[in-house]
């Protein structure tokens, strides 16, 4: 296949230097890994800026560059809601409600926190859900990057690209754990910003400025009249009606993602202080504000500059703009930005999946089998072995799992199916002392059933892909189930709840002591 971008020798040099540099930085971080805490949560030594950078880089994949620009080409600025409405309010809630609990309780994973608050059943089910979902996401991301991006843009062989990506990200995540992931994330975000804003500046300049872009798009006809509206009517058949954006995305999916997603929360758990954990979230939110500017606005400019693409080829907007606007050298940098996004996304999921497998699945099975806790050495060795096994198995299964026509909707649907119930039990577990282990377990499992039924029953919502509404209503249902079952079962003991519910953590000094004792045990 012909290269869509058309790389020059200088571009190839930039890409190779970048790949070797990432690998070297990741391997350098190996010297900081001595314990399980070092490997999984970076020895609790990360400053706020590293936490913030890493949260953003972990969240933005190479596919975002392509898919969000494509969505903006088709639906207008409403595609930016996922980084605006879907980030900042949720990150503030995460910073001041959830992060202090996770951080103070000294846990490695969200399922582990749920296990302490509810019971080991909730921990195991939650860990299993996240492990399976992250496994699928890893396979999908690798396939998307290798096939839809590298193969489509550069004409590279899909399987070779898959192998090279797996080897590079696998090696530095295997060796350096979260420290390597975070510090390569910082460099990768800087490269992404330089490439992304370079493309934005050239795009807007070529169109003739913002006012010109605005006027030209609106003059293109009735189909483009909503392209500069962030909030669309409820009865729109597209995927982003305002009710879904505010309730489904802003209040449920985003909060669950920022508070209950292991990939995101693991970065705050690695912060050197509670202040750094919270500040990292807020700093990440501010950084995320600029993401739609560099991924969605070039998509809008493409409507004017490459109108021949049409809606069916909208995902080719970014490659087309790179080819049209960027000179040699800058193309290599832009490609390095895409590669950076891809690697950081994969490495972040890889480290988090290994953490959940070791802590919540293998650790729990060992406990039930009466084998006791793993030693630090065993945990790190197992974390590394799992990292290697995961990257190999997901690379091998990438095609059967990831080769689907509408991968973005598929990924969002997977997330929406469990984020509502997960948020419901997290929120009630922290805010309501009366929530019990049975209540949490029933809320989580029946909430999942509710999400599945809503998704599989057509005709209930205007939107053709109603994942935002599935998330909202499964959240409401799981809340009701958890409350009802909790009220029908025996309350948890005060001893178990000390330091685990919001009121006691905020006001009770004794609870803080109990928590410190629990961590020390």
């Amino acid at each position: 296949m012909e290269s869509v971008i058309g790389l020059h020798f200088i571009d190839v040099i930039i890409i190779v230097v970048y790949m070797i540099g990432s690998l070297a930085l990741g391997l350098y971080c190996t010297r900081f890994v001595g314990s399980a805490e070092d490997f999984f949560i970076a020895g609790k030594a990360l400053p706020f800026w590293a936490v913030g950078f890493s949260i953003v880089t972990s969240d933005i994949g190479a596919t975002d560059f392509v898919a969000v620009a494509g969505a903006a080409y088709t639906n207008g600025v409403s595609a930016a809601n996922f980084d605006w409405m879907g980030s900042m309010p949720a990150m503030v809630i995460a910073a001041f409600v959830f992060v202090p609990y996770f951080w103070r309780s000294g846990v490695f994973t969200i399922p582990e926190f749920l296990g302490r608050r509810y019971n080991t059943g909730v921990q195991f089910v939650n860990g299993l859900i996240w492990a399976v979902v992250l496994f699928f996401m890893l396979a999908i991301m690798q396939w998307l990057s290798a096939d839809k991006l590298m193969h489509t843009i550069l004409g590279w062989n899909t399987y070779w690209t898959l192998a090279i990506t797996a080897i590079i990200t696998g090696i530095y995540t295997f060796s350096g754990g979260l420290t390597a992931v975070v510090f390569t994330d910082v460099v990768q975000l800087i490269v992404m910003y330089v490439g992304g804003f370079g493309l934005l500046a050239l795009s807007v300049w070529k169109v003739g400025g913002w006012t010109s872009l605005h006027d030209k798009i609106l003059a293109m006809g009735p189909a483009y009249q909503n392209h500069f509206k962030l909030l669309l009517p409820h009865d729109t058949t597209g995927p982003f009606p305002w009710t879904g954006i505010v309730f489904g995305l802003g209040l449920v999916m985003a909060v669950a993602y920022m508070s209950g997603n292991q990939v995101i929360v693991q970065r705050t758990l690695g912060a050197r202080s509670e202040w750094d954990a919270k500040a990292g979230m807020l700093f990440g939110g501010l950084l995320k504000f600029s993401i739609p500017l560099m991924v969605a606005l070039p998509g809008l400019c493409a409507i004017v500059l490459v109108p021949q693409l049409g809606a069916e080829n909208a995902d080719r907007a970014v490659p087309a703009m790179i080819r049209l606007l960027m000179p040699a050298g800058l193309r290599g940098l832009m490609f390095a930005a895409l590669f950076a996004a891809m690697m950081s996304h994969i490495s972040a999921s890889l480290n988090s999946t290994a953490t959940i497998f070791v802590t919540d699945i293998i650790g729990q099975i060992r406990k039930w089998a009466g084998k006791g806790q793993m030693s630090e050495k065993t945990a790190v060795r197992m974390g590394r072995l799992l990292t290697a096994a995961l990257i190999i198995s997901t690379a091998l299964l990438a095609q059967p799992i990831g080769d689907r026509p509408s991968i973005y909707v598929y990924m969002q649907t997977i997330l929406s199916m469990f984020q509502g119930p997960l948020l419901a039990i997290l929120l009630l577990g922290i805010m309501w002392p009366r929530a019990t282990g049975y209540g949490g377990f029933a809320g989580l499992t029946l909430g999942l059933v509710c999400a599945f039924v809503l998704y599989q029953t057509p005709g209930l919502f205007f939107a053709q892909d109603p994942f935002l509404f599935v998330a909202w209503w499964s959240f409401v249902f799981a809340m009701i189930v958890t409350v009802v079952v909790s009220l029908l079962t025996k309350p948890e003991s005060e001893e178990k709840l000390r330091g685990m519910v919001w009121s006691s953590v905020v006001r009770d000094v004794d609870a803080q002591d109990a928590l410190r004792e629990r961590i020390a045990q």
């Binding site: 309010p89 009710t243 209930l460």
Partner: protein, 92 residues
């Protein structure tokens, strides 16, 4: 397989769920601007008020190494949320 599940859910659950969701859709279909913008901007402004005025100052800033106005996370919250409010106001 997926088609079978969908037709099963349509036959079993649609008659139960439709009377709940269809009236909600009809009601929300009539509600658009300015309520959409008020709800969206309200989420951001509400979060700012919650952190800036309602939460305990010590709780918000617990763990900071040195006290100064620049390390006050209430200020960080307002600064990081303001650009979002402006874009929802601009693209309404």
């Amino acid at each position: 397989m997926e088609a079978m599940i969908e037709s099963f859910c349509k036959a079993v659950f649609y008659p139960i769920l439709a009377p709940i969701f269809l009236p909600i859709n009809t009601f929300l279909g009539r509600v658009y601007q300015p309520w959409a913008s008020i709800c969206a901007v309200g989420l951001f402004v509400g979060a700012m008020i919650w952190v800036g005025l309602l939460l305990n100052k010590d709780y918000v800033n617990r763990g900071r190494s040195h006290k100064s106005v620049w390390t006050d996370l209430r200020l960080w919250t307002v600064i990081s949320m303001t650009p979002h409010v402006l874009v929802y106001f601009y693209f309404r």
